[in-house]
């Protein structure tokens, strides 16, 4: 499993990002914090970063996240100090620290390669944290909705006449909505299938998000009682939709 290193000027910041990432994966992924010069002094230390990379290292490699300016230079120096065979398996990720590390932790926990984990983190940069305008949902988004019947029957209906995909509307009823662990469980379930899976929050009128991207799913802001539309398209779409429906109706773990 890919390991992660969090480089930040503040000890507490690095530990806090580690805490968030660990929460998403239940501690399954090695996330090592390299923050501050020590617990009190702000700064970055090449020595601490090298030690953190060693602690996070495994055959799948290590992805390194950084906060501001000199964190990048220090991480670059740390990389140069590694033995060449190790250096080849360590990457510096340009993604935003918090979003990137959280998305990477989930992708790593799903068994992603270094390249896949890096890509998941970079996609986190595209997340729109604040919707510019939520008053007008995208036109026509209601038309393919099909209300779900019984709890576990595969009752999905073709979303269009050519059978290109399936869509299902579900109500999220667990206490915290699609947040933290439930969201991670949701993306992990979606990621098990080859089919493309997207999800919209109908209650908020959001555009479609990639259901396999934790950060995008979190960005939907799905709370208890919200209705979501899950769309699937691909060779195993039936199975994917059923698995997601079962997960939502089972209260997301």
């Amino acid at each position: 499993m890919v390991g992660l290193v969090i480089v930040a000027h503040s000890f507490k910041l690095a530990e806090g990002v580690k805490e968030l990432a660990d929460q998403m994966t239940g501690g399954k992924v090695r996330v090592v914090a390299a923050g501050g010069l020590d617990e009190e002094t702000l700064g970055t230390s090449v020595e601490r970063i090298v030690a953190a990379i060693d602690a996070a290292y495994g055959p799948e490699g290590v992805l390194v996240f950084m906060d501001l300016g000199s964190a990048v230079m220090s991480a670059e120096m740390a990389l140069e100090m590694l033995p060449p065979e190790r250096r080849a398996l360590v990457r510096l990720c340009p993604a935003p620290l918090v979003e990137g590390a959280v998305a990477a932790a989930v992708q790593a926990s799903l068994g992603g390669t270094l390249r896949e984990v890096d890509a998941a983190a970079r996609r986190a940069a595209e997340l729109k944290k604040v919707e510019e305008d939520v008053s007008e949902p995208p036109a026509g988004h209601e038309k393919a909705e099909v209300e779900r019947g019984g709890p576990s029957e595969p009752d999905a209906v073709d979303a269009d006449s050519e059978g290109l995909g399936l869509e299902l509307v579900l109500t999220v009823n667990n206490e915290h909505g699609l947040h933290a662990r439930p969201a991670a469980l949701f993306t992990q379930t979606a990621a098990r299938f080859k089919s493309a899976v997207t999800v919209r929050n109908l209650t908020r009128g959001t555009p479609a998000a990639n259901a396999k991207s934790l950060i995008q799913v979190l960005g939907l802001g799905v709370e208890r009682g919200h209705r979501i539309a899950v769309s699937v398209r691909g060779p195993d779409q039936q199975e994917a939709l059923k698995a997601i429906a079962d997960l939502i109706e089972g209260g997301l773990g």
């Binding site: 002094t41 700064g43 230390s45 020595e47 300016g69 000199s70 120096m77």
Partner: protein, 204 residues
């Protein structure tokens, strides 16, 4: 007139002293256009260097300079850590197993150090950084003691030349035009190191 281990130790000790004396001054310069920690960072870094030097009495110059670089990258904290750390590590690579450097070897090593800083910080002349002091100090084809004095004078000019510049690198670059009118703290600490070199590096 070579650069000996004794001269290098004196240079580093004098540098540590100068950085301690100018700690508040560097911090004031940095507070105006940066995050206000350059004085404390450089002082802490060179105190760590002094500690490391105690184990270096019998070592060749390559080992000494590399140890100085490592001490800085692990104790300075801000951008100056990797930048000065790279400078001294490049000096170390260029010095190899030698116990003393000829003037030509010193100039080559110094240039390698400055090139390392430029590469690490991706900064060039005129960006309002330590490069403006360090680069002004390179390549003076004179006897070493005179060359070091000229280098320190050139670095002082380079440092003062940063005052009207608009920062294009580091935290000060967030200020844009408002960074003009302030002397760059990194160029100032670089000048202090070169002034210390002129005072100590070749036997007096």
């Amino acid at each position: 007139m070579d650069v000996t281990r004794e001269g290098v130790f004196k240079w580093l000790e004098r540098s540590a002293q100068a950085l301690r004396e100018n700690r508040d001054y560097l911090t004031q310069l940095d507070a105006a256009i940066g995050d206000g920690d350059h004085g404390a960072n450089m002082d802490r870094g060179f105190q760590a260097v002094l500690t490391r030097l105690k184990e270096m009495a019998d070592q060749d110059l390559g080992t000494v300079f590399k140890a100085v670089g490592m001490a800085l990258v692990s104790s300075v904290g801000g951008a100056a850590g990797p930048l000065y750390g790279t400078f001294f590590m490049q000096l170390g690579i260029a010095s190899g197993a030698k116990a003393a450097l000829t003037p030509e070897e010193w100039v080559d090593a110094f240039e390698a150090g400055v090139k390392g800083v430029i590469k690490r910080g991706k900064a060039g002349p005129g960006d309002k950084t330590m490069i403006d002091a360090l680069r002004s100090a390179v390549a003076e084809g004179k006897p070493l003691d005179e060359a070091l004095r000229l280098a320190a004078a050139a670095a002082e000019k380079g440092m003062k030349d940063t005052i009207p510049m608009v920062a294009r690198k580091g935290r000060a670059s967030y200020l844009g035009e408002r960074s003009a009118g302030h002397q760059d703290p990194g160029a100032t600490s670089s000048y202090l190191l070169l002034r210390a070199a002129a005072e100590t590096l070749v036997g007096s």
